[in-house]
Amino acid sequence: MHELGIANSILEAVRTEVSRYPGQYATKVCVRIGELSAIDEEALRFSFEVLSRETDLEGLQLEVEFCPRKHRCRECGEVFIVRDYDIRCAQCASLQTECCGGDELAIAYLEVEEYGTSAVGTKSTE
């Protein structure tokens, strides 16, 4: 249950980034989570909501982009998604493949909006 710390790191990163855009606020943050990153999405969402509640980031949307485990074939260069732990190359059946994706834990992008425009995820002023 380290998702609380992860959520806190995400919110801190958002705060740092958004401070570089005066007059704007963050509406959405997209986080990339790999299959091998040992992060539970539900626990992360829960922590994120609890930590942002009644703060400057209340209402910030969390988008999660799930990244499956990927391998690259050393023989033919094919990049393929590993399903059910089968690491054989999908193209040439070689077992000489290496992991090239699936342990991501990164912030992909942030969406910011100018104050005064209607925000995503919050009620319109009209």
């Binding site: 380290h2 990163a13 855009y21 986080v31 040992a38 834990l105 912030i107 942030l110």
Partner: protein
Amino acid sequence: MERVPLERKVLSENDRIAAELRARFQEHGIVCLNFISSPGSGKTSLLERTLASSPRSERIAVLTGDIQTENDANRLKVYGFPVKQITTGGTCHLDARMIERHLADWPLNQLDLLLIENVGNLVCPSSYDLGEEAKIVVLSVTEGEDKPLKYPSIFFKSDLMILNKIDLLPYVPFDTTLVVENARKVHPGMEIVKVSCLTGNGLDEWLTWLQKRRQARKETQAEAVR
């Protein structure tokens, strides 16, 4: 609305400190190993056996993490090597900053081997780089053969799996062939050593693995000096 691309690791601050630690370990020729397992798999027993078999002249130190108590440090101190307890006070893993803080008053130039015993947990410690050269996952035969499949992250990221408590094999339904198969499904080619910290069975193989790592580090170090 404007979209700002970030492409920044969530744990970038931890990774930055871990990279600094790794550079310092390399500079001093230290092999740093991060031991991870469920609670009760035998990390402390393995370290006890390791320290007991090492001459006192060896330059070894241990950091041991737990949520509460100094029990593990007290167990490990009797072997005469420097040992420090890290009590996290609730946090379920060690992070790079804790390592940095606890190493602050240890002269690294007097060390060759740093053993870090993480908090007993197969999930969270796998996300936090401590600057180690290798992670080692300890699994015991009283756990399920499917642990590698249930917790793929740590088995994928560890260089070595130590299967402990093999003295209990006659009494528990545990298929060692299957656990090896599962570990290598998640981590093809993973090195695996089977030991009993109670009887000492298999420990030679573990100590040989450790010796090889230390030798390799010495050679890299000598290469760098040349």
